[in-house]
Amino acid sequence: MSDNFQSGAEGEALQLTVTQAIANLKQTEDTGDRYYAAWWLGRFQVRQPEAIAALLDALTDESDRDTDGGFPLRRNAARALGKVGNAQVVPALIECLSSSDYYVREAAAQSLEALQAKAAIDPLVTLLDGGVKAAIPVPGKPHLVQPYNAILEALGTLGSTSLVEIIEPFLQHEVPQVKNGAARALYQLTGKGHYAQVLIDTLSCDDLQLRRSALLDLGEVGYWPAAEAIANTLAENSIKLISLKGLLEKQLETSASLLSDPACKVMSLMDLLL
């Protein structure tokens, strides 16, 4: 069903041209058109300097505000820049990490991770100030004070083992997504299996959403000993296949042969899920 929806949306979206999308983003009359154009430029990976310049401008837009004082256009622009940006956009995205809008901060953290922006490490660490004690919900909002999951994920990708001490306490956080984000980052930083085990344990929890995100996390980090547990998780075969593909490709990257024993083992598990 979702396949159809996507191709339908894509059919419509393609009717916009690159020139038109850039023009829509630059005008200031219609906030809806701007918001959509920012998404579109990222979705279709338009890397022209003019598009990137317009997205950078949108990061400081003041006109598109929601009822909470948030900045919807800035969120989309920050997300799009993670898909089309280059080293030049990093300072502006780092600036966004101190936005008053939680979702702008979250999008910026994710985009800085995607852009491999090592310069973002220190500003990201700053958002963890106060540690687990400070990581509490915002009253009346469906989120914590910071986008911890995105921050921890980005630090796992960008950082080094010197961050272990700062991240490790978040394994005790009561929100499972934060705990899993910490486990994933710590595994990426150290390669130690007991961190990945936290994600494997999540595969047998009662919450389908958490099982799905642990599947995707294990696939992203390519933790090969999880293969059997992934294949046996109660979730859609589609997601298990994506997860196992991550394990397989990690295995292939680190081995000279396409046909190492672990690679064949993962493929035999994938075959059974097709």
């Binding site: 069903m1 396949d3 159809n4 191709s7 859609e236 075969n237 589609s238 296949l241 994506i242 593909k245 397989l248 490709e249 292939l252 990257e253 396409l258 046909l259 690679a263 064949c264 493929m267 994938m270 075959d271 097709l274």
Partner: protein, 216 residues
């Protein structure tokens, strides 16, 4: 006999009276476990209920039952809505009943849902060729091969190309065991090209593994 019959009746009843998605899933799993031909109609009805968890359990149960389930699905499939039809095609692909071959061929090449194309492409590699007359067997295998060659080269989704590679491996092995000497040649060539060129590393690896598993 009486015991197993009353067990069947009580499990059929449980599916009828399930009042939540979870109860439906549990009762369908329990019914499927019996692998009874008398459960076929009830399991097929579940395919139309818009309950993905229960539908997966019903598909697995019908595949376990095998040929009689394929017969029932084939006699009813024209009347299905899209959702039920997609599940039914997974049943046919999973059983590999050659009476469903034409439907599975079209599905692998054209269905809009990637998970249905994936199941069909995989299924083309596990058709029960021995159920066809010798004369029809070669034709069927050539059709399966040609469809899969196209899917493996051109489907936009990596997982469907991966499944088509697995399917091609199955067709090649079946053809070799039948001694159809010429049939596997284009498969080997295509698998070599995929192992070298596919955009997705996992698909390249699966093609290399398929080549390694072909009898030389």
């Amino acid at each position: 006999m009486i015991d197993s019959d009353s067990l069947l009746q009580s499990r059929l009843q449980a599916v009828e009276s399930a009042d939540s998605a979870q109860a439906m899933l549990d009762s369908v799993e329990a019914l499927a476990e019996l692998k009874s031909e008398k459960a076929i109609d009830a399991l097929i009805r579940v395919l139309g209920y818009n309950n993905p968890g229960a539908a997966v359990a019903a598909v697995d149960g019908l595949i376990q039952i095998g040929t009689p389930a394929a017969s029932a699905v084939l006699s009813q499939i024209d009347g299905y809505n899209y959702g039920a039809r997609a599940w039914a095609l997974r049943v046919l692909a999973g059983i590999g009943d050659p009476r469903g071959l034409d439907l599975i061929l079209v599905t692998a090449a054209e269905d809009f849902s990637l998970s249905v194309r994936r199941a069909a492409a995989r299924g083309l590699g596990t058709i029960q060729w021995e159920k066809l007359e010798k004369a029809e067997r070669l034709d069927g295998q050539i059709q399966a091969r040609d469809t899969l060659l196209g899917v493996a080269a051109a489907d936009p989704e990596w997982v469907v190309r991966y499944a088509a590679v697995v399917g091609l491996q199955g067709v090649a092995i079946a053809a070799i065991s039948e001694d159809y000497q010429d049939l596997p040649e284009p498969i080997v060539q295509r698998l070599q090209a995929i192992a070298a060129d596919d955009d997705t590393m996992a698909v390249r690896a699966r093609a290399a593994w398929a080549i390694a598993q072909l009898p030389s």
